[in-house]
Symmetry: C2
Subunit: 507 residues, 2 copies
């Protein structure tokens, strides 16, 4: 058979046809430079090295000074200790296989697999979706789910109404941010105001869409606060240079800093947006991850309040808020879901955004369903309510406990200083490294925090991301770690490593 | 409470702070022109009008001359008649809720919900995934699933080995294509060779990434065949104009044409790629959708054969093949899954592609699992095998029956001519419209096929896409319809409409 085919193929070409010099292969310089120059440290060199070490441990479990890799480099809760919420997964299981709804109810109940409210919610979602999660949905997302999201926002923001037509369900917040930026980055004179330090998705997107990064620095000494004076300074500076400050990115709660914005800070950001006509993208994916008496305030809520307080002054503000199922109590990273709420955009811009989203047809429908479950958890009186609450409480307590332990450990050690955890899943302590370590990193031609994080990985298996991957004030060095890995042994290991590192490099 | 907050906010600004003139809002001209000029007819004006009519029918079911909208505009099988394969959904249901695996086996078996091989496959996938579909996977996709894909390709291509490191699992084929094109479109002198007619994702992407579209025309009279002479003519023409023909898109089986490429045609395409150093993207998402004795040949298989036959001549060819879970027997559009296999790319290019994919972290993990299920269905001897085969046969037969009925209907009517269905999910008949219809469309300033498709929608509720959305030879007009809508009444309705339309406009 193969022989016949090859004979067939042989007859396709004459000798003359084949008398050509094969062309050269692609090289890096043939690629889109915007893509090749983009950087994304969260899955960069150190996590890649961690993957190699993981493979090495699989081949030979005692070849390294540690037994496993602790992935503290990425907010991926279910890779680690965090269990999915039972209610969420019961509903998803039924959505995937609606035959379950047709089984004899008593027989099904005897297995104790699915709660009544899970069956009910699955039925409602299937009705909204149109029967099957395997069909493409509306490009903006299933209308019924967008209604649930709008109801949630209305309640969260103290009654300020939200509308399903302003909601776009997305394949996670990364896809949401890149869609918005691809639309809003007009040309190389477009300025993107980005917090530094900052989750590198935004610098990578700025590179992909050829925009100018306009960094505004967060104030580490004031718990990584956002200073509107600093933002305005950057805006004015850009305008002087002929760059149009078009988009302002806010991450609240912060990544990697964990800082949570106050109402007055948000109000001041809205003022800058109103004054200079800057579109705000408010990345609020960690809105459920706030600790103690810290309170999350949405940009939308404060904007609406200002619009009510000062008629006409803030009506021009254009805001896109992002949320995600990957963080908070869901931690459903792999399910890829999220939403954008837009406020104040004209019909032209809405149409363009819709068209852009329709090119990728729709976001994953099960991910859309998880958004519904995130914003509308079981309520008191529902069969799943108690278990759901307990599961949430456990997640919250474990995260808080580990965050505090890490924070205290860092602050007990020499040469490392950490701000108090307020929110998100990360700590971003500052490293004050000895001169000898700085010289060594210079010799190796790497950043000093890369030296530290590499040594940490190679000695303990703890995988983190150097602060240079997020941006930091020149001459300062940091490390970003999640506080997701289970147990406390790794924190002790880190302590041991840190002391050895300082002993080695102490001046 | 709200009052206190508003008071707080009131104290934030001084009168001087508020003494500013609010800036103007964004207009279309402030957006990225590459996005605003992109077009995507599959969810364009006519489908949008269909959505409006659907809403109107909901409000008042007898206000229109039809009772429902027939969505023949998009290959969305599960929106219509096609049922998901039972085995797929059983496995997915377990993946979402692995507690099912811990239920007493006998008790579970009494419900007859999950087959033994479904339980086994789910366990294997969970092991490969690392325990939870809610965790981010490796950016290239779960290694074990990539191995299954590589095994499938190896077998499909007659033993030519495929490797998991060459596989990238993606959020559907659209995301795969746009990722590849964003990397390969270097600048405005990059030429994209695109078949005309063509699924408009590619023209839209060319616009998004500022590439030059280099159209090559398919030969309608020869069953929409792809002529390598035509491609080479376009290549030479582009070179003369200083445009670098960098990427050649092939859609096999074709969308919207349904044409399936022969081995010799594929070989000739490989020759052009080798001679001119053009990277080939082979969109093979309809590879399961071929009818009768038509056989699908992958670009990769033919390339490998040529490399064996003519050492040194074809080794430089760089190929990316796309597949998807949205079409074929799965039809799992809403689950968003697919893969890219790359061949011949240097390490630099691979690294850049990996980085690009890591910026969006990973594709949806359940979608990755569906890829596994697509390429490795139940085998003879497995509990699910018989049912699975029957379900596939039913899908195949129903599609073929409707395709043939539509084809015959079109060819019985005046002024419409259709090529014989070979594959994919579409027919793309040519409309030979009367002069009066052409004049009417001129008067309305719309394309003649838009006039036809709009009238079809408004009279019958049948939603199609005009040929102008896919590109067509100047002066020819077409309509693309899927053959997915259930039943045959709609085909009779279309017949009736067509006759009336011609009666109305007959010269």
């Amino acid at each position: 058979m193969t022989m016949t085919h090859q004979k067939d193929l042989k007859s396709v070409f004459t000798t003359k046809d084949l008398d050509f010099k094969p062309a050269a292969k692609l090289t890096k310089k043939d690629l889109n430079a915007s893509v090749t120059k983009a950087e994304y440290a969260v899955r960069g060199a150190i996590p890649t090295r961690a993957d190699e070490l993981k493979e090495e441990l699989k081949r030979s479990s005692n070849s390294l000074p540690f037994n496993n890799i602790i992935n503290a480099n990425i907010g991926n809760p279910q890779q680690l200790d965090q269990k999915p919420l039972t209610f969420t997964r019961q509903v998803l299981s039924i959505l995937e296989y609606p035959v379950i709804l047709k089984v004899d109810h008593e027989k099904l109940a005897s297995l104790n697999l699915f709660a009544k409210d899970a069956l009910k919610r699955a039925q409602r979602l299937l009705d909204d979706i149109g029967g099957s999660v395997g069909a493409y949905s509306h490009s903006q997302g299933v209308p019924g789910i967008r209604q649930t999201v709008a109801d949630f926002i209305t309640e969260r923001d103290g009654g300020e109404p939200a509308f399903p037509e302003d909601i776009y369900l997305t394949t996670g917040a990364s896809a949401a941010a890149t869609s918005l930026l691809s639309l809003l980055c007009k040309d190389s004179q477009t300025g993107l105001l980005l917090p530094i330090p900052q989750y590198p998705l935004y610098t990578a997107s700025a590179s992909l869409y050829n925009a100018q990064v306009l960094p505004y620095y967060l104030d580490e000494e004031a718990d990584w606060s956002t200073e509107s004076d600093e933002i305005e300074r950057v805006v004015l500076d850009a305008l002087k240079k002929g760059i149009k400050p078009s988009v302002l990115i806010v991450i609240n709660p912060g990544n990697p800093t964990g800082a949570v914005l106050s109402e007055s800070t948000i109000a001041k950001i809205c003022l800058i947006a109103a004054k200079y006509g800057i579109t705000v993208i408010s990345d609020e994916v960690y809105q459920e991850n706030v600790f103690g008496d810290v309170k999350f305030h949405s940009m939308k809520k404060i904007l609406r309040k200002l619009q009510n307080l000062y008629p006409g002054k803030f009506d021009n503000v254009q805001l896109a808020s992002l949320h995600s199922i990957s963080k908070g109590f869901m931690g459903e990273c792999g399910q890829r879901g999220g939403y954008i709420e837009i406020v104040g955009f004209s019909q032209d811009i809405r149409d363009a955004l819709f068209k852009l989203m329709s090119i990728s047809i729709c976001s994953v429908v099960t991910g859309q369903a998880v958004v519904d479950l995130m914003v509308k958890p079981p309520q008191p009186g529902d069969e799943s309510y108690d278990q759901d609450r307990q599961e949430r409480l456990k997640i919250y307590n474990e995260m808080l406990t580990r965050a505090n332990l890490l924070y205290e450990t860092f602050n007990e050690l020499e040469g490392i200083k950490c701000q108090k955890p307020q929110g998100a899943m990360y700590l971003f302590p500052k490293l004050v490294l000895p001169e000898k370590a700085l010289r060594e990193s210079k010799r190796l031609n790497i950043e000093p925090d890369v030296l530290y994080c590499t040594a940490l990985l190679e000695s303990t298996g703890i995988c983190t991301v150097p602060g240079s991957g997020f941006g930091q004030k020149s001459g300062t060095y940091h490390v970003r770690t999640t506080f997701l890995p289970p147990g406390t042994q790794w924190i002790q290991d880190w302590r041991g490593f840190h002391q050895e590192f300082f002993d080695k490099y102490r001046d």
